[in-house]
C-alpha cells in the first residue's frame, strides 16, 4: 500500500501515511460509516479537539458528497473529563460544539486522530453522557497504534500502525498544521 510513496524522513520522524493515503483512508471510512449506519440517517460526527475536529468535518463532507445528505459534525472537548488532569498543569480547554438538534436518539460517531491508551475515548464517553443520550456511540480513528489500557476498540480505523511505546505518532492535518501526513518518530527526551 505504501509502495508508491517514498517515505519522507522529516523533523517529526518518518512519514507512514501521505496526503493521498489519508484521503483514501477517510473516503473508505466514510463509506463504512454509511454501510454500518444503513445510509447515514440520524448520524452525528463529533471530533475530539484538536485534530479530530477537522477529520470529523472531512468525513461529513465525504458522506455529503456520496449520499447527497447533510451529516452534522461538531466537536467534543474532553479535557474536563480526563483522568490525568492532576498529572499536568491545568490545560487550556478545547471547544465543544454540538449541532442544534443535540445528540439525543442519534448515532454519534466520535472521531479522533490517534487511538492509543483509550483514555481519551473513555473521557469522551463520559463527556457525551452529560450532553444527552445517544442511541449508539461509535468510534472512528485515523490511526490505531495499539497499547490499549482500557477495553475500548475503534469501529472504523484508517490504518493499524503497530508501534513501540517509545515511539511518537503525530498526525498532521492541513487545517491545523498546513499539510497532511502521519509521522512516526522517536520519543523526545524530556529534560
Amino acid at each position: 500500500m505504501c509502495a508508491a510513496s517514498s517515505p519522507v524522513a522529516g523533523r517529526d520522524g518518518l512519514a507512514v501515511l501521505d496526503a493521498e493515503e489519508i484521503r483514501r483512508a477517510l473516503t473508505r471510512i466514510a463509506h463504512e460509516i454509511l454501510e454500518r449506519t444503513h445510509g447515514g440517517d440520524e448520524v452525528i460526527l463529533l471530533g475530539i479537539p484538536t485534530r479530530g475536529v477537522p477529520l470529523a468535518c472531512r468525513l461529513a463532507g465525504r458522506i455529503g458528497e456520496f449520499e447527497k445528505l447533510v451529516v452534522p459534525c461538531g466537536s467534543l472537548d474532553v479535557t474536563m473529563h480526563r483522568d490525568d488532569l492532576r498529572l499536568h498543569p491545568a490545560r487550556a480547554l478545547g471547544r465543544t460544539e454540538l449541532p442544534p438538534e443535540g445528540v439525543d436518539g442519534k448515532t454519534v460517531v466520535l472521531v479522533d486522530d490517534v487511538l492509543y491508551s483509550g483514555r481519551t475515548v473513555r473521557a469522551a464517553l463520559d463527556a457525551l453522557n452529560d450532553l444527552g443520550r445517544p442511541r449508539a456511540v461509535q468510534l472512528a480513528v485515523l490511526v490505531d497504534r495499539g497499547h490499549r489500557e482500557l477495553p475500548i476498540r475503534a469501529d472504523y480505523v484508517g490504518k493499524n500502525l503497530p508501534t513501540s511505546q517509545r515511539e511518537v505518532v503525530r498526525v498532521l492535518l492541513a487545517e491545523v498544521d498546513g499539510q497532511d501526513a502521519v509521522m512516526i518518530g522517536e520519543e523526545e527526551r524530556q529534560p
Partner: protein
C-alpha cells in the same frame, strides 16, 4: 499562572486571556441539561467571608459546585471569630481540614496576601478592604469582551434563537470549524476599548483591580470622579483621570458605575448625595450621550437613584444581570486553572 490569585496585577496578558478563553468554553455549560463537570471532584474549597456578600459568595459556591468540588462556607458571624479568634488561627484550622483553596473576603486590605503565607492551598482574593477584587475585574473583562468583541464570534447560545433561523439549519458544520481552524481565540483582548470608571474610586477594590486588568488587556481606562474620591497615588496607576463625567461619555465604549460606599466613609467626601448624583450619577439624559454600542456596567449592589438611575439600570445597555451570570463562569475558569492540574506537586504533603 501563579498559585494564588491575590491581585489583578499577578495576571500577565497571557494568563488573563487564558482565563477568559476558558470561561468562554465553560459558558456553554449553562445551556446544558447537566450543568456540572467532574473536574474538581474530591477537592475542597472554603469560602471564608469576614464581610457581608451575596453575589460573590454565592457565585464562588456555584462555581465550585459546578466543578464538583466540596464547598465549606464560613462566615465570621456565628463562628469562633466572634469569640476573638485571629485570622491566622482560623487559617490553620482550615489548613488542618485540608482545604485545597480558600476564597477570602476580608475588610482589611492585604488579608488575602497574609493568608497566602499561612496555608498550603491556593488563596483567591474575593475582596480585601479597599485593595483588590480580581475575579470581579475578570468577569467585567469577560462581559466587555462578550458584548463588544463578540466573545466567540457567533455567541449563539446567549439570548435565545435570534440568529439561527436566518442562517439556515446547516450553517453549523462547515462554517464553524472549517478550514483555518477554530474562531480566533487567545488573541481577542480588549485593545483600544475605552472604559470609563465612575464614582467612588477611593474606596473601591473593584476599580483598582479593573484598572490593572483592563490595562493589561489593552483597554484605555479613564477614571471619572470627584477629586476627594480618588486615591492619592492615582497618578501612578495605568489610567487617565478626569473630574468631568460629561466630557468622557461620548468617547466611552464602556461606562462602569461604582457604588458610593457609605459604610467605608469616615468623613464627608462630597457636600450631599444629591449633588453627587447630579454631577456623577448616570441618568437617562447622560446615557443618551453615549455612543450607540456603549454598555453600562455596575459591580453591584446598586444604589438606585444615587450613582445610577433606575431607567439606566433596567435598560438594554445595562449588563448588570449578565455580569452576575458571567461571574459564575469566570470563577469556574479561575478555580479550574488554579486547582485543576498540579503545577505544585508539594500541595499534598
Amino acid at each position: 499562572m501563579k498559585r494564588h490569585l491575590i491581585s489583578a496585577a499577578d495576571l500577565s496578558r497571557a494568563d488573563a486571556l487564558l482565563i477568559l478563553d476558558t470561561a468562554e468554553e465553560l459558558a456553554q455549560l449553562a445551556d446544558r441539561p447537566i450543568k456540572k463537570l467532574p473536574t474538581l471532584r474530591g477537592r475542597t474549597v472554603v469560602n471564608l467571608f469576614y464581610e457581608d456578600s451575596t453575589r460573590t459568595r454565592i457565585s464562588f459556591e456555584a462555581a465550585a459546585k459546578r466543578l464538583s468540588a466540596d464547598v465549606i462556607n464560613f462566615s465570621a458571624k456565628g463562628s469562633s471569630v466572634a469569640k476573638g479568634e485571629s485570622l491566622k488561627d482560623t487559617a490553620l484550622t482550615l489548613e488542618a481540614m485540608g482545604a485545597d483553596a480558600v476564597v477570602i473576603r476580608h475588610p482589611a486590605s492585604g488579608a488575602a496576601h497574609r493568608l497566602a503565607g499561612w496555608v498550603r492551598g491556593s488563596v483567591l482574593n474575593a475582596g480585601d478592604g479597599t485593595h483588590e477584587h480580581p475575579t470581579q475585574a475578570l468577569l467585567d473583562a469577560f462581559t466587555i469582551r462578550r458584548r463588544l468583541m463578540g466573545g466567540r464570534r457567533q455567541g449563539g447560545s446567549r439570548g435565545g434563537q435570534g440568529g439561527r433561523g436566518g442562517l439556515g439549519g446547516t450553517v453549523f458544520p462547515q462554517n464553524r470549524v472549517g478550514p483555518g481552524g477554530s474562531p480566533p481565540r487567545g488573541n481577542t483582548a480588549l485593545d483600544g476599548i475605552r472604559v470609563t470608571i465612575v464614582g467612588d474610586v477611593l474606596h473601591s477594590r473593584v476599580a483598582r483591580s479593573n484598572v490593572l486588568l483592563l490595562s493589561t488587556l489593552g483597554a484605555e481606562v479613564t477614571l471619572a470622579a470627584p477629586p476627594t474620591l480618588l486615591p492619592l497615588a492615582v497618578g501612578s496607576w495605568p489610567c487617565a483621570v478626569s473630574y468631568d463625567l460629561d466630557s468622557e461619555l461620548p468617547k466611552s465604549d464602556v461606562v462602569m458605575m461604582l457604588r458610593v460606599q457609605q459604610e467605608r466613609m469616615s468623613a464627608a467626601y462630597f457636600p450631599s448625595v444629591r449633588e453627587y448624583s447630579r454631577r456623577y450619577g448616570l441618568d437617562g439624559a447622560r446615557m443618551a450621550r453615549l455612543p450607540d454600542h456603549a454598555i453600562v456596567m455596575h459591580p453591584g449592589p446598586m444604589n438606585r437613584g444615587v450613582e445610577i438611575a433606575a431607567e439606566v439600570a433596567d435598560s438594554s445597555r445595562s449588563t448588570i444581570v449578565e455580569q452576575v451570570a458571567n461571574g459564575v463562569t469566570t470563577r469556574m475558569a479561575v478555580l479550574y486553572l488554579l486547582l485543576g492540574g498540579t503545577e505544585f506537586p508539594a500541595v499534598t504533603q
